[in-house]
């Protein structure tokens, strides 16, 4: 789960990590007032669930409250397109106004899960800022990595090694040690899958400050953090993805016209691969879960059909121990409820396959049943071509 920069900074601040003075605003007037409080000169930062905002004009230094007002008017409601948002961009609804800070040095610092070691890993670099990924590929020797043993946790001497490697010394190095230890404490207490400070700066006045911050929560740990729910900004998500989430369905909108419903992520990806191979363009990725139920199937079907680009639906359910007649009922229920006349191809495997097929074929829907994955993809592509002709 994603949260905004200002929320991430609030959390870091609660873990005694210094962040710039700032205020979050919902209107241009609020932005202007916040700018006045900062003394006129301040940084205006659009809050969206993606990075790369600076280059897209979403982060700007202004010198007067009126200038802040003008910029805010322009930013609010605008769809900011960055390399991380996709071509449609993300709408700006919240703006963070922060004090402008004189920067002496910039670092990169993060803790995330390293799948290869199954442990949390601290990553740091003296070459912080926007081009950290380039540094990682071009000069990996400038990236310091530290694997954290869960038995001992992150120890001060290890954090010190990092802060010295970053070129910090004296009391500033010890400040950095504390900051790193606090960052690890935050990862554990808040169940973060990623905490990233980029850049971590040394100000001209000689203090450490987290200038930008990103936090991802572990979706699997949401059940023990009631506070996460209130932090969610639904305006940053696709409305269909939101309704899918309510029913525990994994849905990602794509650009094609064939709606897909599959159980299991791997099989869902493979189904998209087969569709493309047959010249079809999937409209979405949708995983109803390994053991799909009748209710889930029905909800999934309705969500797929809400996408106006969808001209046909391909259902691929390898139920195994699940009963196909129950799945068929779910499809029929949803399709009749929304009066769907689009071509549907269903490939099911599991128990009671024949009963399931019969239900579908007798339902009056524009449906064909197939036995194999390849045949299913071919058939739906063909049906769409015929419908067009």
């Amino acid at each position: 789960m994603n949260i905004h920069e200002y929320q991430a900074k609030e959390i870091l601040s609660n873990f005694d990590i210094p962040v710039p003075r700032g205020r979050v605003a919902l209107t241009a007037d609020q932005v202007e007032r916040a700018a006045k409080m900062m003394g006129g000169t301040c940084v205006v930062k659009a809050q969206i669930y993606a990075g790369g905002r600076g280059k897209a004009g979403g982060v700007q230094l202004v010198h007067h409250p009126e200038q802040a007002h003008e910029l805010a008017k322009e930013l609010f409601g605008k769809r900011l397109v960055t390399p991380q948002t996709g071509p449609e961009g993300l709408k700006v609804r919240r703006i963070l106004v922060e004090e402008a800070v004189g920067i002496a040095r910039e670092f990169y610092l993060s803790i995330t899960l390293d799948r290869s070691t199954s442990r949390y890993c601290l990553i740091a670099s003296a070459e912080g800022g926007v081009d950290i990924e380039e540094t990682a590929t071009k000069s990996p020797e400038k990236i310091y990595k530290l694997t954290i043993d869960p038995y001992t946790g992150l120890r001060p001497y290890q954090a010190r090694k990092i802060s010295l490697a970053l070129g910090l010394n004296g009391s500033l190095s010890e400040d950095c040690v504390n900051l790193i230890l606090n960052l690890y404490r935050c990862v554990l207490e808040k169940d973060c899958s990623l905490v990233e400070i980029n850049p971590l700066v040394v100000t001209r006045a000689g203090w450490l400050l987290a200038m930008d911050a990103k936090i991802n929560f572990d979706d699997n740990a949401i059940f023990r953090h009631w506070e996460y729910h209130d932090m969610m900004d639904y305006s940053q998500l696709d409305p269909l993805e939101i309704s899918a989430g309510k029913f525990d369905l994994a849905y990602i909108k794509l650009t094609g016209n064939i709606g897909c419903m599959v159980n299991g992520a791997g099989l869902a990806m493979a189904t998209l691969d087969v569709l493309k191979e047959n010249g079809g363009e999937p409209a979405n990725f949708l995983d109803v879960g390994g053991g799909a139920t009748r209710e889930k199937v029905a909800e999934a079907f309705k969500i797929i059909l809400q996408d106006k680009d969808v001209k046909g639906v391909f259902v691929n359910i390898f139920g195994g121990i699940m009963r196909c007649d129950v799945i068929a009922q779910g499809i029929i229920e949803a399709a009749s409820e929304v009066q769907c006349t689009l071509p549907i191809v269903v490939r099911m495997d599991g128990s009671q396959v024949e009963e399931g097929k019969k239900l579908l074929l007798d339902s009056g829907l524009n449906v064909k049943c197939v036995d194999f994955l390849g045949a299913g993809a071919e058939t739906i592509v063909q049906m769409l071509a015929e419908a067009k002709a």
Binding site: G51, Q84, Y108, S110, T112, L113, R115, S116, S118, R119, Y120, C121, I123, I132, E133, A136, T137, P140, I143, P150, Y151, L188, D191, S193, L194, E196, N198, K214, N216, D218, N220, A221, F223, R224, L254, V262, N263, G264, A265, G266, L267, M269, A270, T271, D273, V274, K276, E277, F285, G290, G291, F318, G319, G320, I321, D349, F372, L373, G374, A377
Partner: protein, 294 residues
């Protein structure tokens, strides 16, 4: 022979009294698995479906001699169930539970690696030795006894692969679903090693997907060590770049994770990679034929 489980395996089900736990316990027993015990804290002393239930794993293992555990405990207690399985000294724990928090798994994995217990999963379909024993949620009927080992990160895509293998007349020695989570017990290599050493496995089918670097690691190992033919499929060739997790994700894998890279690495290791998910059975068939000619 087979790997990990066979008809002698004595199975204890952790979380046996839950809805999913009980349903799949029955399914596994119907398939032929010897379910000797169940564990649900607070329910020790009762019987479900004629199976004795214990409060603790220690008790269940001591009294029934169970050597394999199947875990259905819901996410909040799943990691604890894994730790309890380890502490009981059981040989193999198979965790089906989906949605175990990362933090819990970091610690559980550390403990598992230090113990003599092998862990499969979490978030996996389980393990099956066709015709002998099923410990998991996979549909038994698609499997046929035979000589192909199957190892997979996916759930239902594995069923698709197994069905194609069975339809092509290629039965399976053992099928292992290692799970799709970022932190799992046995990885591809751990399973491949066992298939390599198993006299009754003649070839291996491997199913991977985008993300992480596990397939690349497996490819490297296969190149150096594998004596048997391997065919594979990688799902997600056409998947658009997923929602990225800041910069750290990209840095940590050093650009690994894309399907094309995985396919390239596997081909370099001599693995026959199926071009389409409809041709998984064919690919395995071709790999076995190529081996015979040599």
């Amino acid at each position: 022979m087979s790997i990990l489980i066979n008809k002698e395996s004595k199975i204890v089900v952790q979380g046996i009294t839950g809805k999913a736990g009980l349903f799949h316990t029955k399914q596994c027993r119907d398939y032929g698995a010897r379910i000797v015990a169940g564990v649900t804290p607070g329910k020790g002393g009762i019987h479900v479906e004629g199976i004795p239930v214990f409060d603790t794993m220690e008790e269940a293992v001591r009294i029934t001699g169970a050597n394999v555990s199947m875990i259905f405990v819901p996410p909040p207690g799943a990691a604890d169930a894994i730790l309890e399985a380890c502490a009981s000294g059981i040989e193999l724990a198979i965790c089906i539970t989906e949605g175990v928090p990362i933090k819990d798994m970091v610690m559980a994995k550390r403990v598992v690696d230090d113990s003599k217990t092998l862990l499969v999963g979490p978030n996996c379909p389980g393990v099956i030795t066709p015709g002998e024993c099923k410990v998991g949620i996979m549909p038994g009927y698609i499997h046929k006894p035979g000589k192909i080992g199957v190892v997979s990160r996916s759930g239902t895509l594995t069923y698709e692969a197994v069905k194609q293998l069975s339809d092509a007349g290629l039965g399976q020695s053992t099928c292992v679903g290692i799970g799709g989570d970022p932190i799992i017990g046995m990885k591809f290599i751990d399973v491949l090693k066992r298939f390599n050493d198993d006299p009754d496995t003649d070839g291996v089918f491997m199913i991977g997907e985008i993300g992480g670097g596990a397939e690349e690691d497996a490819a490297e190992w296969i190149k150096k060590n594998m004596k048997k033919p391997v065919a594979a499929f990688i799902a997600g060739v056409t998947a658009p770049p997923g929602k990225r997790m800041g910069h750290a994700g990209a840095i940590i894998t050093g650009g690994k994770g894309k399907a094309v890279d995985k396919i390239e690495a596997l081909k370099n290791a001599g693995v026959l990679v199926a071009q389409s998910p409809t041709k998984m059975g064919e690919a395995m068939m071709a790999a076995m034929k190529a081996k015979k000619k040599k």
